[in-house]
């Protein structure tokens, strides 16, 4: 067999679904954020592969933008997790019930 360009596309779909599974199944906020990172990486792989298929470079530029946004998202999200841990002493997403009376 030889390497064809549909293979990374199928791999990206599988990684995206695994990341989505992590966000849905887990209750640990840190591991939910890791699932989000997996989904962002899968979209990056789609961007780069489609940029190779179309023989343009715009997809790679867009994947660099996605990387910068992922860095900003990780910083802000982990700041939120730390603030939450200071308030509730846990990182379980089921225990965030501050608005319920």
């Amino acid at each position: 067999m030889i390497f064809q360009l549909w293979m990374p596309l199928v791999l990206a779909v599988m990684i995206f679904l695994i990341g989505l599974m992590g966000v849905i199944f887990r209750r640990n906020l840190l591991i939910m954020m890791m699932g989000i990172e997996l989904m962002l990486n899968a979209s990056n792989l789609l961007f780069v592969t489609f940029s190779k298929i179309h023989q343009r470079v715009d997809g790679e530029v867009m994947s660099i933008f996605v990387m910068a946004i992922a860095a900003a998202e990780a910083a802000a999200g982990l700041g939120l997790v730390i603030a939450l841990f200071r308030t509730l002493k846990t990182v379980n997403s089921d225990s965030i019930q501050l608005l319920r009376d």
Partner: protein, 186 residues
């Protein structure tokens, strides 16, 4: 009898296997630290896949930004929180919810695979194949021309986004210390 081995195929299969197993370990590992290290493995193998695809600059940035910056942040936060009582939160999700979610994810995956597979053999709209990129001066040259000529406005907007994220993170971090120390900062 001579058939040549496609080395990029072998490399892709190796990296894809590592990525799939690692991402399953991220989702199903109980401990957050081992999940983070599995995620580092996944990100490295993604960099390898980018290199197989010929996007060398994106592969270097993947290692620098993701495994160098983001994952260090993750590991720092995990060790800072030091949440020892790692209950098995995977078992808290109900069995029916797991079954229904898995079935709907399989359905979504079927649709997505069909969509990407049918769009994989389109006629290329550009002219930048690998020989042309080498002739123009390499991956870094071509990407930086596209980034700083055509997309320079979006690039500058991105710096404002990162500035906003930095200010938000500092605000979140400072507010916690003030309330816990009763305003007596050292």
């Amino acid at each position: 009898m001579s058939f040549e081995i496609d080395y990029s195929f072998v490399a892709f299969i190796a990296f894809a296997t590592i990525a799939l197993l690692g991402s399953l370990m991220v989702v199903f590992k109980k401990n957050a630290v081992s999940a983070a290290f599995s995620l580092i493995l996944v990100l490295f193998s993604f960099a390898g896949i980018y290199a197989v695809l010929g996007a060398h600059f994106v592969a270097a940035l993947q290692i620098l930004i993701y495994t160098g910056a983001i994952m260090v942040l993750f590991v720092f936060v995990i060790m800072l929180l030091n949440d020892h009582h790692t209950e098995n939160d995977l078992e808290k999700t109900g069995f029916l919810l797991k079954v229904v979610t898995s079935l709907s994810l399989v359905a979504l995956g079927t649709i997505l695979v069909k969509a990407v597979y049918s769009s994989a053999d389109v006629h290329p709209t550009g002219t930048l194949n690998s020989d042309e990129i080498i002739r123009l001066g390499g991956s870094v040259q071509v990407i930086s021309e596209a980034l700083f000529k055509d997309n320079v406005f979006q690039f500058e907007l991105l710096s404002f986004l990162i500035l906003a994220a930095v200010i938000a993170t500092i605000t979140l971090a400072k507010r916690g210390t003030k309330s816990s120390k009763n305003g007596s900062e050292t």
